[in-house]
Amino acid sequence: MTVRDALNSAIDEEMSADSKVYLMGEEVGEYQGAYKISKGLLQKFGPDRVLDTPITEAGFTGIGVGSAFYGLKPIVEFMTFNFAMQAIDHIINSAAKTNYMSAGQISVPIVFRGPNGAAAGVAAQHSQCFAAWYGSCPGLKVLSPYSAEDARGLLKAAIRDPDPVVFLENEILYGEAFPVSAEVLDPSFVLPIGKAKIEREGTDVTVTAFSKMVGYALKAAEILEKEGINVEVINLRSIRPLDRATINQSVRKTNRLVTVEEGWPQHGIGAEICTSVVEESFDYLDAPVERITGADVPMPYAANLERMAVPQIEDIVRAVKRACSRSARGK
């Protein structure tokens, strides 16, 4: 099943099950979705529940939030999360903070979803990864699926969740197909929010990743296997809350950690994971934590520069080897 179909089926099933769920965003209706995620939904549920909005992120996000205050369950689609910056005031100030400001009177069961991070050749203003920014905000839950199973289970959980959820997808993954079990296809399938998945078990080094980087990490693990390094790959699934328990448990087993992310290095996801491990599992570390991130630059346009600005499989392989060759004392 492709990630696209997984997302589509998740939204379809949740909208069928609960008439309070509705979808709004640019091109979600008649255009069948900018990336065809909402294909067929307008035809099935009608224009009252699948709303094509004007290009007014601040306005329609605020409207979504306001309707969620008293019990509707909107899914707000951003064409990419870059555009959500025009609506970030509502995501943070009126969605994330309201349950707290109102002391529990008003909760906001809303989902903000859309593609996040780099695509291919779309340049600086279309390529930012927002996991770290949203991941630092209390009151939000932030999820990032990798496989079709993740996409289905996490999106269903997000739609059913009574809190605001930022759901960071990836444009490149939309078309990728993954095998799914019958359990995943069941309409009641949900994944728990806040639990990471160990995609590949290993003994020598822990590699954490989310979204597209999970695929890269798995490929890097295959390459490293041939060189005798046994890599454990953790698919974070949930950026906030971060599954520190699983990560720390893994590091205590392997004693080495490499974090991988596409976003910018400073104050990124890797920084948080590193700190968590240093705080809780310091004595278990045999080498400094390695952090692989996107380059500290706005995304360039030229294809070769773009390749240099995001982590590639070779970078992960190199970092893992470095983590494994260093010991606790010196190089």
């Binding site: 605020g62 409207i63 306001g66 400001m101 109102s102 529990g104 009177q105 806040g194």
Partner: protein, 435 residues
Amino acid sequence: MASCHAPQASFFPQISPPFSADTSSSPIVSCRFPCRYASLQVSSPSSGTFVPRAEEKTKTERNIFACAATASRLVAEKPAPTKKKTTITKEEGLVLYEDMVLGRSFEDMCAQMYYRGKMFGFVHLYNGQEAVSTGFIKCLKEGDFVCSTYRDHVHALSKGVPARSVMSELFGKATGVCRGQGGSMHMFSKEHGVLGGFAFIGEGIPVATGAAFKSKYEKEVLKNDKVDAVSVAFFGDGTCNNGQFFECLNMAALWKLPIIFVVENNLWAIGMSHIRATSDPNIWKKGPAFGIPGVHVDGMDVLKVREVAIEAIARARRGDGPTLVECETYRFRGHSLADPDELPEKAHYAARDPILALKKYLLQHNLADENELKSIQTRIDEVLEDAVDFAEASPLPPRSQLLENVFADPKGFGIGPDGRYRCEDPSFTAGTAQV
């Protein structure tokens, strides 16, 4: 700080004299600066319904309201004539009076408490603008929504939140309407339909529009015929230059949402005068640009505001869509209690104090006597004394409250080192704020 000066005549478009020959009986709307709006005439259809007038034949007519209303009758420099088209009953009059007195007295008490150190942070008072809050909110019913800005104490009170709860909230006590977690700028009450309380200007408008959207969705998609809730968004003149305002006018008109956009134009956005900040200071004119009626009303006269409110609310409830109402009003105090209190037009507007105006009206029309009005004031004073005593005596929020209500589903705090969800650990909120 900007000083106010009479705008030069040449700066503003000259609006020509009335287009209708009959000047004696038709309602006239004035402006506060005669050179800005000349005395305008609005034709008044007898039905009193709002009718957007798309085609204006003459340049004169194009300059005038695109929407006819039976509303405001006011002449620029003279005090409002006491003869009104619609009458109110004694009960209605006293309800309006009591609500405005509550609002004024509450805000005065806030100032006192602030300077005595019981209240802190940002406190924005509503003195002088009571007619707008009372005029609109007293026409709403239970189930309707109100969304405001940081100047929200009186909106919450008018909507029915008890004075005790609001005062406690301002003192930061656990008995406040938001248990001390919101504060002056973030009054929320699910029970009374108060959607906040927002610090950023313009932020409340889409939220109010969303509540109106929900009302329409319930009716049309969830097929709940009994729902006819409307939403009222209050915001200021400064907000009308903000993108979100225009985005919501567009979408509310596009989807015919049951919302009333109420502009409390008090001429000042902190120290920035409306005229210095706005290319066309006629805010009501911006409604017709989106196909919704724009009405201008004297916001210092609660009866006029009420007339317009009744019409706009009925329009929304019927399903005819949004209305933009610009209320000309004024704040008698500074932007907040931390700001200087030096606005130049204070004396002029103090003469148009809405409470004194209503009092005069009630007395002149024998709807109430001095004693009744005085007893209302006394009763309100007692309510406020009680509110302050209650707030003083209330406890501060306990330490465990710090981590409560971040999420509706506290599993959002994630899994702890022991592999269980942190919120399942009974000592989670009792200890330090380690997450």
